[in-house]
């Protein structure tokens, strides 16, 4: 399973957000590795997904706090995307809980989409619209 790698274009320029993006990538890659390990403990994937869910929830909370404080004009759209991703992760968590996998393809695809598309569009825009952010 391909892991997610930090790329310079992911950087928003906001120290808190970039710091947490890097931490998140670490958690996601751990989860992807566990999901790809067919000989491993299936329960571990669920546990790691729970951790990723909590970390991403916290990360979104921080991003939304910053956007709200800086009156970001696309806050509502950004927030909606956050909620969709959290819903997707929760669906994946329940699928793992119910069937024990395989989920790595869905999980990887969804997170890659988020890190790629989200960073290129929303996060990049946020950075551009908030000089000094």
């Amino acid at each position: 399973m391909a892991s997610v790698e930090w790329r310079p274009e992911f950087a928003t320029g906001i120290a808190d957000v970039d710091h947490e993006h890097r931490e998140l990538i670490g958690w996601i890659n751990q989860t992807l590795a566990a999901a790809g390990d067919t000989a491993g403990d299936p329960g571990k994937v669920g546990d790691l997904l729970g951790e990723v869910f909590a970390r991403i929830s916290a990360h979104f909370a921080l991003e939304e706090h910053i956007m709200s404080a800086r009156r970001y004009d696309q806050f509502a759209e950004h927030k909606r995307d956050h909620e969709h991703l959290l819903d997707d992760i929760r669906d994946i968590m329940d699928d793992v809980e119910a069937a024990g996998g395989p989920v790595e393809e869905r999980f990887s695809a969804r997170l890659s989409e988020w890190f790629g598309a989200q960073f290129r569009t929303h996060d990049a825009r946020f950075h551009q619209r908030m000089p000094g952010a």
Binding site: D47, R55, R90
Partner: protein, 692 residues
Amino acid sequence: MNWLKRPLRAIFDRVESMLDAVFGAQHNPLAQLGALGWYLFWLITASGIYLFVFFDTGVTQAYESIESISRDQWWAGGIMRSIHRYASDALVLVAFVHLLREFALDRMRGVRWFAWITGLLLVGFIYVCGITGYWMVWDQLAQYVALTTSRWLDVIPIFAEPISRNFLSNTELSGRFFTLMVYIHIAAPLLMLLFMWVHIQRYNHARVNPTRPLMIATTVAFVALSLLMPALSQAPANLDQLAASVGLDWFYIPLYPLVDTLGGVTLWGLVIGIFVVFAALPWVPPLRRAQPAVVHLDNCNGCARCFADCPFSAITMQPRSDGSGFTEEAVVDPDLCVSCGICVGACPTATPFRRATALVPGIELPESSIADLRERVEKLCAGGPGGPPRILAFRCAHGAAVESVPGADVAVIDVPCTGMVPPSFLDLIVTRRMAAGVLLAGCRESECHQRLGVRWTEARVAAERDPYLRDRVPRDRVAVSWASPAQKSVRARAIRNFATALAGLDPALPRSATGSHAPWRDAARRLARPLRWAIQLLVAVGIGTLIVRYSDSPAITLRGADEAIVTLSFSHAGRLKEECRKLTPEEIARLEPNMRRPRDCPRARWPVYVELELNGKLVYRGEHLPAGIWDDGPSSLFERFAVPAGAQHLTARLRDSERDSGFDFSNTATVELVPGQSLVVGFRASDGFSFR
């Protein structure tokens, strides 16, 4: 104090339940007394500004201008004047019920001491505003207020001469003193507004506006009251002829008759004593406080959700102290934290799905950890022989009890506030089928003990406030029930009906909600709309009648029908104890250079001794010391005597020198007094005694 709080709380509980049924929990006036106080303040301010435009501040014109406002433009100025008076009376009523209610609900101890003490000070401000306001009308009531206030203040030994001397007679009435009252009446509300702001400083999202329907209804009620029972002045003030009785505003001056019966000093003692007793209540006994919330920086990224949700402003966001990549961290002020756990419910890391690391959220209560909460949930939902419980209830410590009812197996977890339960716990329990449904059983909807617990819980479940309960959680399996400890039947009915509703649901749990985010709630028992309106009207009429009834009556008797008043008053400096003496050159040389002077003039004066005889009978005698710390000021006296009307022979004598017998001044007069007449026996060194 529980012997007093318990019955009071029971009374408030009952009345509040009735008003909930009549007004609805959202518009219950008893649950928004503080906000109502704010609104009344704005009503009083707005009407006061209007009145001030037309008010003539001259002492002789004040009465006429108020009469003109009240009668010539009854359709505007008259209404404004009535609103000004009645809203001021209502403010006293609201402030005292607010005070009593906070006491009954035990909401003045712990961190709430600050609002309690500032609230007590606000009551003082309300009285200063009201009393100076009555003064300005300059009618009989104003005269009574002026004379009584002056006499009450005169017992405080800080004035060079009695304030009462400003009100000896119509001709001696000081316009400047009257103007001072006008300034105080404007300055006091401005200071009061500052204190109102301070009063709510320690509350996050403090409510300063009642609900819109309540505001509209209050305004309409005051306008109607103003048209039906307009506030009018009493007869104009006349310091030379005292009225036999005066109607009092019992909201503002209930203590004034005690100035006559108890005396000014005793009344000050009483007022200060009452204030001290009330001010001590937050610490009688001190509140046993649970350990405050703690922040775990390893799991805090500074998202500020706890900061936004804390009802008591106990959390601040401060620069990061752990050298991590984040810029801010939450910091809890333990002195302000009430350990309600609402911050924990807001923390995005307080999710039970975390299992790869220890379940330690960014912020939590040491005595009620989130890991412990998950453990309790898992233990209860593991179930007994019959399997998992149908309903898992999170019960607020300040709400009604939660008990199993026939057909509804309920497992209960006690929490300090329902706002402590993170929505992800509801997600876990419902979507993983750990129980058929979850019940958030809190305290009274219209009055959350932790201020914002009910509001935030509702908003999170409705996905209107972070952290959202996810859409995927079917809301028909998540119930809210708001009931005070006395509302046991409300709680029991909610549990019974929720169990019935759960039994009727499709066992195949939908993966995502379709439609409303509103949780299940038991339909409130509400009266039919016409009946509600009728009772609302009755409540308004009742309060309006109470305000009108006691805003200028019952009257009190000021003097007997055949009595007149004799006032003995002067402000006179006794003679110097020592004459000026020329200093010798040697004496001058011994003085410090900057203190050298040709003459030495000791400033101390002799006290003034005075006697008054009425028809040959001594009615007053007294020695009056000079004012000032060097005993160099005037000696003053203001003393009133009720005397029978008719012919009176008066003799006044005064000694102001070193002699220890005999008098330096004396005068007699025979006067014919009519009932109510005010005769002033005055004294000036140049003219001797006068009888006017």
